[in-house]
Symmetry: C2
Subunit: 358 residues, 2 copies
């Protein structure tokens, strides 16, 4: 399966060609996939550059880094990303609460240190980010590991004879949604505790079809930064910096969060909103389309793709949408509309109770 | 033990100070030591940069790299080494014959690709290279893993209360040898099948006391490149590029190998001698002083330090000796003098049957 997984990431997602320089970042629990990626890149006459991280590496850095580390330039990392054609990131966590209790300011300083490199990676490489199934991921999803593997790898179509064909079919379905959305200006989201409008006229909707995220299954854009008005209740739990945040409620005026609360993790929510000026504005509205992902698992990569959900991200927008919001955070918050909710475009129903009305 | 091992490498060998950039290259079987090195560097207010390699990574590259890889510049690697203050390399092999059967020309091309980066690392960083005990290393040594761990970690003085004190004591003993050797010009080595002279006048003898190699215990210099005359039989087996080479016999004229044979691995020997112009000349003469290393284990790092041995390296010299021989190879070949042999300096006996006469 590691070879089939690597083939999908290299050929379909990152579109690796002969001569490409491919940076490969993998956590050690997925070392078999790391090896398949390196071998696959070499077999395609590409130049792989492997970075394996032991599971606690980021935790060690966040907890132990001294002043010299925090103040250091990530010069080698920038040099590398400037020369990379493709970038493959495989997360394989062993403890998704590893950063619990870390000083948020410290975390923020280390995020800020890497902000430019991350932006260059997203802007200038054919990148793909995926989640390898581990016991920690299964635990958060409330599943045994075998079931979680079946769920995650199934959502990537890796049990299909031709995974690429499945992704091309999803891409075609999403292209029709993008065409409809591109004609809209006002987007209204209604559900219990939720009545939010925002404007997207002139912005570009992106067909996220398994190239930058694996799995994917969403269409998204960057809303006009001053447009969000109203209230929203996110009923899908979110995990950020090793902490759970539940039942986030936000009120927007002229694009800015003016009221915020959470049922669980409110202190973290309020802290994240103070990250910088862009953290109180929306960088993204995304609509999940992947019906193979049918329940939340605690991983944003998967949860935001659930068919019948909508998500809004606080912070940084993707520049390919036309969005211009800048921030060191990009935090996706998800609303499930399947049990009652509606997305309208300029007053016409687009999706109701999780089903597209076309 | 990993923390004590890391402390010795960071504090004694690489002399890591606050603000240092420390590149840490570790094979995954030693991931516990890798973590101790990263944490130790962070605790010393240094900036670690970790490179973990799965055990077959080099084999995969050597066997599968295409034309693009071979022709690619190691630009990121050079950029990194130019910015590194210290460099820690931990080998932890799982198969020391992994490169068996590889085309030597291919291996040579990949070695040549990294030659400049390796030279910069040796010249410009406080580097240290060590061997972590693995089952593969134990197998070559003909020991069980527990015994091999006791042997290797014991040779690093890691069971001592104060490992650094033991290394400082060895350093002082070697300083006396260096003082005597520095007054000599002609070095003559005699043993069965061996009568070789070379000249070292004006060259610098290096006290290798556990800083660049862990363990160490040798003094070495670069002989005058045109000086070697006579014959030598190396009776300690050597492993290079995944192959065993035994009973190497060389005859030198005016510093150049003019006859060469081996009991095992002769084809490899002859191929290595053709690597480049410098491969037929000596880059090093080293004298082992570490009595804690009392038998060959198939690892050059250990074998060349055996108290009572002498070794000569074909190829590249270390520039800090004053040696000027250049080559992409540096191959240490070892002669055990304990069962009968002599090193003389300008005609006076310096070591006989493995014992220094001072």
């Amino acid at each position: 399966m590691d070879v089939k997984y690597a083939d999908l990431l290299l050929d379909y997602s990152a579109e690796v060609k002969p001569g490409d320089v491919v940076s490969i970042h993998v956590d050690t629990p997925a070392v078999g996939l790391a090896r398949a990626l390196v071998r696959g890149a070499l077999e395609r006459d590409a130049v792989p550059r492997l970075h394996l991280a032991y599971p606690e590496l980021n935790e060690d850095i966040v907890r132990l880094a001294g002043a010299s580390y925090v103040a250091s330039e990530p010069d080698v990392e920038r040099f590398e990303v400037e020369r990379a054609d493709a970038w493959v990131r495989v997360a394989a966590p062993t403890n998704r609460r590893a950063l619990q209790g870390v000083d948020p300011a410290r975390l923020g300083a280390l995020e800020a240190r890497m902000q430019e490199v991350q932006a260059l990676r997203v802007r200038d490489t054919r990148w793909v980010s995926t989640l390898y199934p581990t016991a920690a991921g299964a635990q958060d999803a409330g599943m045994g590991l075998d079931d979680f593997e079946a769920f995650t790898l199934g959502a990537m179509h890796l049990f299909d004879d031709d995974p690429q064909a499945a992704w091309r079919a999803l891409s075609a379905r999403q292209a029709a949604l993008v065409e409809r959305l591109s004609q809209a200006d006002e987007v209204r989201i209604e559900a219990e505790g939720t009545d939010l409008t925002l404007r997207v006229g002139g912005r570009t909707w992106v067909n996220s079809d398994g190239k930058r995220n694996m799995p994917s299954g969403e269409v998204f854009t960057g809303p006009i930064e001053t447009s969000a008005e109203g209230t929203v209740h996110f009923d899908v739990p979110s995990f950020v910096a090793g902490q759970e945040v539940r039942d986030v409620r936000l009120r927007f005026e002229a694009g800015v969060v003016v009221e915020a609360s959470a049922g669980v993790g409110e202190a973290l929510l309020l802290e994240r909103l103070e990250a910088d000026a862009g953290a109180r504005r929306l960088g993204e509205i995304g609509i999940g389309t992947n019906n193979q992902i049918d329940r939340p698992t605690g991983s944003t990569l998967f949860d935001e793709k659930i068919g019948g959900t909508v998500h809004l991200a606080l912070g940084r927008s993707y520049t390919n949408t036309g969005g211009v919001n800048e921030s060191r955070i990009h935090w996706d918050l998800i609303r499930d509309l399947r049990s009652g909710g509606r997305i309208s475009l300029d007053g016409a129903v687009f999706q109701e109770n999780g089903v597209f009305r076309g």
